[in-house]
Symmetry: C2
Subunit: 174 residues, 2 copies
């Protein structure tokens, strides 16, 4: 699907520093997920909090990703991804998939399954969204991926894991 | 700034139901904010969790908003907005700005200030991001607003307010 993007502002102006911006953003809590993909470009997974719902009419979410990362090439080439929303108990996986560990060792830490797409699904995740990537918009160092949700899987029991003030917080679910 | 958007998928397929998608999304925690604007289209504010950082190089965030809402017309006409990240203590404001209360009554509940833009700033918010809207991308019922951050304000003391599992959760900050 083509996304028409309408420019609004004309003038450029000095932006705030990256450090100040990051300090501010550390105060906005975000649910912790592991985004996965598999296909011609290989199996890749990474920890992400920059995931956001856009609309529930033709359910669509967005994932923001650094365009210089190997993950960016993998997800856009494979054309599919899964957003696995972590429980509080799955915090060790967030560290594993957020570091420099090789992909094979990351995936060896859990028994992944598969659904309607090739994207690996994490058992016992609070929720997993299987998506087809329908478009992406460039914004500086990052791309915003528009992801059409083709399947949702939910665990019977769940809890929440949020990153806020540069540390993890566990939330009660069911 | 123009956002080039590259379509990827060709085939359309049956999406999951809105209800199932919403049930899944209820399991992804989100920091609670009040997004405000002021200018030719008037002063408007609404509670939002669909806010996400895109990049810290030329700091940019996105806000997702229903295009049929009066708020959409206001923010895109005014061209500026502020994302006020709420503390746990400010939860009553989240309810007020998330309901049907007239705008004047909403804003009467706090002593708003102003920074570099006309967008109202909430005193004692954990952080406030003043932004110029540089573009928007349509996605079904909603638009994704690309917001260039021109100022960041931070309170000395802060805490966190997250919406997860269809209720608020307070998080310890400083």
């Amino acid at each position: 699907m083509k996304h028409d993007v309408f420019p609004l502002a004309i003038e450029e102006e000095a932006a705030v520093s990256s450090a100040l911006y990051r300090d501010g953003m550390a105060r906005l809590g975000g649910g912790v997920t592991i985004v996965t993909t598999d296909g011609p470009a290989g199996r890749v997974g990474f920890t992400a909090t920059a995931v956001c719902s856009v609309t529930d009419k033709s359910p669509t979410l967005i994932v923001c990703i650094n365009q210089s990362s190997s993950a960016f090439r993998a997800v856009t080439t494979n054309g599919v991804l899964a957003v696995n929303v972590l429980t509080a108990e799955q915090q060790p996986l967030a560290d594993l998939f957020g570091g420099k560990t090789p992909m094979d060792q990351r995936f060896a830490a859990a028994a992944w399954t598969q659904g309607e797409t090739a994207a690996p699904l994490l058992p016992d995740a609070s929720a997993s969204f299987e998506c087809r990537i329908t478009g992406h918009a460039e914004q500086g160092s990052h791309h915003v991926l528009f992801c059409s949700v083709v399947a949702v899987h939910m665990a019977e029991q769940f809890s929440g894991l949020v990153y806020f003030a540069r540390r993890y917080h566990a939330l009660a679910g069911t």
